[in-house]
Symmetry: D3
Subunit: 245 residues, 6 copies
């Protein structure tokens, strides 16, 4: 059950409205890494979750994201309001201007409607927590980019608040995942095929237009990896040999 | 530049085609966590990437996923072929049957067209690698569920091959992320607000219908967390007090 | 700011889970007339609204719909849970089974992802209230159809609760609209063109295959309407006459 | 069966083409509240309708909307034509310019493809008529906004024509709904639960950042409503009391 | 301007309604190759077209497709009507049953909403006509598949009517394209690069799992083609040679 | 099986990056007629194809298109890179700037995510080849428009390369279709209804606002066509006569 309190979690004040920036803010309202996506991803994972601790964690953060949705929506609304009456402002976001009368809706910066395709929900706790860790990292970097594109003090403060909370959530999800005590290379119950699982397939080879070469690093060297060079071409070569043989 | 070799990376043989299972297989062909999603996510991240090592890693795995797309597509095709001529089979996937003549297309198990909204691409290396780690975990669990829903030996072998490779990729992405040497709680360049970042907001409280209670765990206790109880309600309470005062 | 209380607004208990019915229930979870659509439509209208009374109304009902989302999601989850482990159950909703591990997600009964295209938000109070009246009427009839398709007592009780609330909301929105005191034929500020506005264009004529004829009723007769017969054909006839003339 | 007459229902003449305004006009061509949405919503409702009078009404207006689609498309086309040859004009709508060669397509002002998700069709006559009343109100306000954003006389005349017709349709749908003689609070056949249906849940409380307070009005006071304060919090309070008791 | 005549272009009578087949019929109502797609593609191409002859052709066929939309919709409606009252029938198409009350909507057989992404409109007459030729070919084959999946005589007759008309349209579009007198290898105005345009890149090589080999045919041999073998691998080989050199 | 070679099929060098043009280039990266659409359409048709020659053709061209995807993506990336750090550049494509950090993703010029709804795949060889011929014609004209909108020499060269290859593919698909020896008016196996198939329905009549008249041409005259005038109106006239009779 939900209760709404009329005060914003972070009070928003802006200077001069800037419609083009308001349009950009919609990324975090109705966009792929935005607050509705976060709220729904965690809340619905929570609804599906049978582990009482992780369920509580998911509901806590899912609910907080609803409060963030309200903040970012209010902020975008302030910047987009002039699109109702000014033709020039309207060009910053014709959809908000014409269809919305200057009011926000669940679109991103290019007017795409929010879609549940943004969500990553598998019903497997540890997998869901990994999706959430990645989601928080994405949201953090998007807020940072927005901060870098505005000079308005009030706007920056609100975005800084929201950005900070993503790091808090990132940490909680990481600790939640650790608390499960699952080996990070074990997912589900069916084990991978031994031997095959250690092979790194080097399927992109040669030298790039700017001289880029094949690179060996900890992701394909040591750590138990066996380097398999150009598996597709090996097949061709074997065939050629057989043809000649 | 790409080259295609006519042989599948894993030869697929099946027993009796099973259209309803073929329909399920489409989840990994044109679905949200499927092979095209993986191929495109990594390849386009690679195209945007300026770090030569991680770029190579992304192109290697992105290319391998294209070969997987071919395997899962061939497998689904075998199971769905009867939908062309059998009315009963057609009911397992009317879209494949009527529009595709029994041939596969980039749809999921309920006929939704593949969409780039499935992709997580931010242009920030470490963030992208986290998205990839989560993506591989999701793909692994989906393959496991598919394996659990079929008895056909040839199908299970092919799925086991594909599932195994996800673990290999998971490990490579984890090692790739570690190789960057970035603190997992640091994303981008703007630091979070001190003090605020440590507060855990307990926004979901009370006792559930099955007696679920608030839980304290490493995600909201210790680890530098400060527990803030019911922030929304605190505002209400303060207000009530002020009204009386 | 939002607070979540762990108890459902209406406690849900079901008998035997019925996956095919669970799939149908998703219409009211992630479907076009479902609870998320209602919650978002009203809440975002509220966020855009400058009238304090209507804003409060929108936030009250928008928040209640979030609690309903939780109820219908929990109910659908109970009916869909068997899709995780039973292959037969999985065929009732392969997307929930394979991608969701038996957990719900914001899809409708045919797996379409929820989209903000479902929402009707114009930033014009009276227009928005009319959209809401229609939305509540749609939600009511959908719940009625669901009730008619299940015999499970617990499920029916929960659906009856949710259905009842739609009527309450319908009435509140109707009273809210009346309270504005706006002539129902006046929208916005630019008046329609006199004369033209009274013309009813009879653009569909003749007798149907089952004998259907043109009908005159209060929607095109009396009430100030002027009946204009077959405007497109009149043009043709005039032309023909001119050619002969 | 349809017949097309080459003349537009309202002849369109414009002065200087204005691509950015042409882009805005697409809202009423391929947008959520545009003419295709209207034409399809009414026509398909008509196709499903068993009441001869309402069916005729739906087909009359649905057909007229097809003629409007032609008008708004022709108008948008005139304004967007320069996008074919002028790079500057092309920036007003790159999708129309590059993919369409300056020709229109069923997109909205931000290039989203028209989707049947815009339609509200339930197969319940009175519910459908309510959806149509709301749809006409939305279309009216959108035309008004477009009129306010252009000075071109010919364009304004065409938009005034189209806007006027929405009021005509609004009235016809209202009269059609009245003619059914259904109590506006009765939808379908299953009655709501007595007692519960009268309760207004005050789920949004407190004082907003700008001093907004809870409001009582005819939507939650009198009219048979019973005001239930903060149902979610009441649960919490009861629990707290029980814990102490 | 449009006029609607209440009689169907082809009177539809069916025997026993068959909901699962009705669901399949939706492919031609709201599906990718269906009648709305045809009607809109041709009509909007017509609206953009400056050639009076081709414009007339496009409007003639575009309008006929609207009449076909009405036929296929009526047919699907007859087969899907039982989904309103029978739970078993409802399982054939839960979206039509629950959301539509047994009435059709612009969805395909798996409930995807019709989208303008199905349309191919470029504003280049000859290119558009080629898209239409392909569209008619697709529609023809889809009708054939539907015919093969039903025994109902009335249904088959209606489908046969619709299928036949696609061949008529196919021919008209082919003759229309021929009438333009454009070399089929010339598109637009910028000529391709001589030399390069003659090269056929053999980018898929080797022997398949079932022994498939590279094939030479008129599409890569004779006809002025120059066969370029494995361009990607040639780069690799050159590089390898250079490394050794 | 696929192998990737790090060198681009055509080396891309640009002068000054131009973000607004980069945004337009996305049409050929993630747009409806772009390289991913081509790559997927042909490759998946190939996967479904049982004819060894046409299958090889489809795989050759499908694979080449993947190499083109890499070229156009690299080109767009160069032009869009400034959107990461420059606010002004960011306005050219806020989605790429804010969500992508200046990196490309599978969107079109107005930010719509790539969707499999762009693909035309029927599993009927000759029909698929016709869809491909049309697809190549569309891609050619889109490249031409892009060339006309930039002065940058390096960009034009890359686009000229890509545009040229579309003509090569167009020719190969045409020769492939011819090689099947199928009468272009025969699709599938069920013949159209004799008599009916020859009737051209003149459903759009009268004189347009600019004096456009009905046109007779090879698409409705000669060639075995029988001209049927205004079929819908004939019904009305017959009825009127009957009423009088």
């Amino acid at each position: 059950m939900y209760h709404h309190v009329k005060k914003l979690m972070f009070t928003v004040r802006i200077g001069e409205p800037e419609p083009r920036f308001g349009n950009m803010l919609l990324e975090q309202f109705g966009g792929a890494n935005g607050e509705l996506a976060a709220a729904m991803q965690y809340t619905i994972q929570g609804l599906n979750c049978d582990d009482p601790g992780i369920k509580d964690l998911l509901m806590d953060i899912g609910t907080e994201e609803l409060s963030h949705l309200e903040i970012i929506g209010s902020l975008a609304r302030m910047h987009l309001k002039p699109t109702k009456s000014s033709r020039e402002a309207a060009e910053a976001d014709p959809l908000v201007a014409i269809a919305g009368g200057g009011g926000v809706n669940l679109f991103n910066s290019q007017g795409n409607p929010w879609t549940a395709d943004y969500l990553k929900i598998t019903g497997e706790i540890d997998v869901d927590l990994r999706s959430n860790i990645a989601a928080e990292a994405r949201a953090k970097i998007v807020y940072e980019r927005l901060i870098n594109f505005t000079d308005d003090a009030g706007t920056r403060e609100a975005l800084q608040f929201l950005m900070t909370r993503e790091i808090t959530h990132l940490k909680s999800f990481m600790k939640g995942l650790e608390s499960l005590g699952i080996d990070p290379l074990v997912i589900g119950e069916i084990p991978p095929t031994p031997g095959l699982v250690d092979q790194y397939f080097n399927t992109s080879t040669g030298t790039g237009d700017d001289g880029e070469k094949d690179v060996r690093g900890p992701w394909n060297k040591g750590n138990g990896f066996r380097f398999v060079d150009s598996p597709a071409l090996k097949g061709l070569a074997d065939e050629a040999k057989a043809d000649k043989g």
